[in-house]
């Protein structure tokens, strides 16, 4: 298990290095590049050349890359040119990361809390109108562009339910401890701050949850259908066990195995979806920074955030794989 973990982490380092090189090369080599990004398309050749020299862009790409790595090792990933001009890219990431973690956490929570029970019921009533409706509903969930749904929630649901339609928290007097606004209120006992943060979270979290929900629902349904056909469920029935015991111990415990894997893969959808959802709700997280960064071609910020997103994605999936080994005795006790 330890060897497996280490091997995966080494692979991750390799992936990050390759990816950073590719991203780095992309920033430097493509038409436009940082000079055009900073000076605009219509800058004079003289000013271009000056800036190119100043930024060290006239040196060979590998030298530039190693210099970048050297600086990155000290936490210097460059200065933002578009998202929060003048701020360091790392600061922007650190500031905004808790917001996205918080949002993604609630989104996946919603997706699991709704998707798993619905998937189970749907499988139990296979072919019923309830099942058909849920399946079609989940397919529509995948077909709706996330940002459109976010807009609908923002404009329709927020006014109907009296929920705030943008930002992370109102300008209220709250003590900051961890950067997770919902958690801070719990720690300091400022419950109104937690409540206020939750109010801001709920709509973006629902928008972000749709795709993971649809996927988790369908995987749960398929897994439960498979397990219901298994002989050991028939054995459990032949023992006269009560329905709740059969459901929990025999059906769900087995059906959860593929669902857990899916939850790991869905962090990818969360990270991508956060770019769109956070932009709609002006939710000051990593996703919003990426959205603005793409729009304004803020390359230092994009470079850092994309690499971080990749690391998060890979690490979460590694953790999921490890937890999978823990919950499946066939892997654990091999």
């Amino acid at each position: 298990m330890l060897r497996y973990t280490i091997r995966r982490l080494v692979q991750l380092v390799g992936v990050v290095l390759v990816l950073s090189l590719l991203l780095f090369a992309w920033l430097r080599l493509l038409p436009g590049g940082p000079v055009s990004a900073l000076l605009g398309e219509r800058a004079t050749p003289e000013s271009r050349e000056a800036l190119t020299k100043q930024l060290g862009l006239d040196q060979p790409i590998f030298i530039q890359y190693f210099k970048f790595l050297g600086r990155a090792a000290t936490g210097d990933f460059g200065v933002s040119t578009g998202v929060q001009p003048g701020d360091s890219a790392l600061d922007i990431f650190l500031q905004r990361f808790p917001a996205t973690v918080e949002l993604s956490f609630f989104a996946i929570l919603i997706a699991i809390a709704v998707g798993v029970p619905l998937g189970y019921l749907s499988a139990k009533r296979r072919g019923s109108w309830f099942d058909n409706l849920s399946v079609v509903g989940s397919l529509i969930g995948v077909a709706v562009p996330v940002f459109f749904l976010a807009y609908v929630l923002k404009d329709v649901a927020s006014s109907a339910l009296g929920l705030p339609s943008s930002g992370r928290q109102d300008a209220i007097d709250a003590t900051r401890v961890t950067g997770f606004f919902t958690l801070d209120g719990v720690i300091t006992g400022e419950w109104d701050a937690t409540f206020n943060a939750l109010e801001h979270l709920i709509l973006p979290a629902i928008a972000l949850a749709t795709i993971p929900f649809a996927v988790i629902f369908r995987i749960t349904r398929a897994a439960v259908l498979d397990v219901l056909d298994e002989d050991f469920v028939r054995t459990a029935e032949s023992k006269g066990l009560t329905a709740p015991v059969i459901r929990r111990r025999h059906v769900l415990r087995n059906a959860m195995l593929p669902v857990v894997t899916t939850i790991g893969l869905q962090t990818g959808a969360l990270l991508s979806g956060a770019v769109l959802t956070e932009k709609v709700f002006s939710f000051a997280g990593v996703g919003e920074a990426l959205a603005i960064g793409f729009e304004r071609r803020d390359y230092p910020v994009l470079l850092l955030l994309i690499i971080m997103a990749t690391i998060v994605y890979v690490v979460v999936n590694l953790l999921v794989d490890l937890s999978y080994a823990l919950i499946d005795p066939r892997i654990r006790t091999r």
Partner: protein
């Protein structure tokens, strides 16, 4: 009074847009307390469906069950889902064919034994664990304390089937149904499991319904044998009588197709021609007629009735004359 009285049990599967399929067609048999009764036939003859119908394990939708299944005087088919749940595992136990897939892969063996004790005998977990250890010991699993904590994949095939037998017998049911309990096992293990079952049902006084396609199993275990074909009982007799003097051409064929160790070198096996796919519906005659060496014209015109012949039930227009050797020799 018999412990189990199955009368006219019929199971019809109805799937949307398909012809209804009579898997079991008016099956009747009795099981006396402590007796071992065999249900024998090829796959597709309805023997497994019969057992599932008795246990109340057929799907509610798509399967229409008629007839009566009296256990200790109560008709099991009339019980509610909850009442049947209370009886399964307590009054009736069942052992299935494939021991690996019949055990939950992610739950330790111990819990799979104790859960049935907790459910029906109201034992607290600790007490149930001690009982479970005794049970594993009784079915011949060595080092039961270690095995209780292990998972099915860590046990051998024979061990798993022993564990399943322990589970089925945990609450001392008066009736045990075993559906091909040895088919998925190695030949050497098969004999062990069979002798274990024989020993246990004798010790506990449990009645056993043994479902098998293997006449060898029947020969060693059963008091009475029902031969099923196409969902109907075609011949029923005490074991010795049936083996000594098979009257139905199908039973005769089954016996003739068993390889014998005492056969002369070069002697040929005698398989039954064709397959179940050649059946004709019982309503148009005898389902076995297309494969039957004794078939007459009447066999494809009139449904043979069940006749009682001196303690033997027979459903045939032209039974085998006692003493006839294997009907026809077919090179294998």
């Amino acid at each position: 009074m018999a412990l189990l009285e199955v009368r006219d049990l019929t199971v019809v599967f109805q799937r949307k847009g398909e012809e209804p399929f009579r898997a079991v067609d008016g099956v009747s048999f009795d099981v006396e307390p402590g007796q071992t009764v065999g249900l024998v036939g090829e796959s597709g003859c309805g023997k497994s469906v019969t057992s599932l119908a008795i246990m109340g394990l057929l799907p509610k939708r798509g399967a229409k069950i008629t007839g009566t299944v009296r256990y200790d005087g109560t008709d099991l088919l009339k019980l509610s889902d909850k009442e049947m749940r209370d009886r399964r595992g307590r009054d009736l136990g069942m052992v299935f064919q494939d021991p690996l897939s019949s055990l939950n892969p992610v739950v330790p063996i111990g819990l799979q034994v104790t859960e049935v004790l907790e459910r029906h005998r109201g034992m607290p977990r600790k007490e149930a664990m001690i009982e479970a250890k005794d049970l594993l010991d009784k079915v011949g699993i060595p080092d039961p304390n270690r095995r209780l904590k292990e998972y099915p994949h860590q046990l051998s095939g024979g061990m798993r089937q022993r564990a399943l037998i322990a589970i089925a017998l945990a609450c001392r049911p008066k009736l045990l149904i075993a559906d091909e309990p040895t088919t998925a096992l190695d030949v050497t293990i098969q004999a062990q499991i069979l002798s274990l079952m024989k020993e246990l049902v004798q010790d506990l006084g449990t009645a056993l319904v043994m479902i098998t396609h293997d006449l060898g199993v029947v020969a060693g275990l059963c008091d009475e044998v029902n031969v099923l074909y196409g969902g109907k009982v075609v011949e029923k007799a005490m074991r010795h009588k049936l083996f000594a003097e098979p009257r139905h051409p199908y039973t005769h064929g089954l016996l003739a197709s068993i390889p014998r160790l005492d056969a002369a070198p070069g002697e040929k096996l005698t398989p039954i021609k064709g397959s179940v796919a050649d059946n004709i519906p019982w309503s148009q005659g005898c389902a076995f007629a297309p494969r039957c060496p004794n078939a007459l014209d009447v066999c494809v015109q009139v449904t043979p009735a069940e006749e009682d012949q001196l303690g033997r039930l027979l459903r045939c227009h032209n039974p085998v004359v006692p003493g006839t050797p294997a009907a026809e020799e077919v090179p294998v």
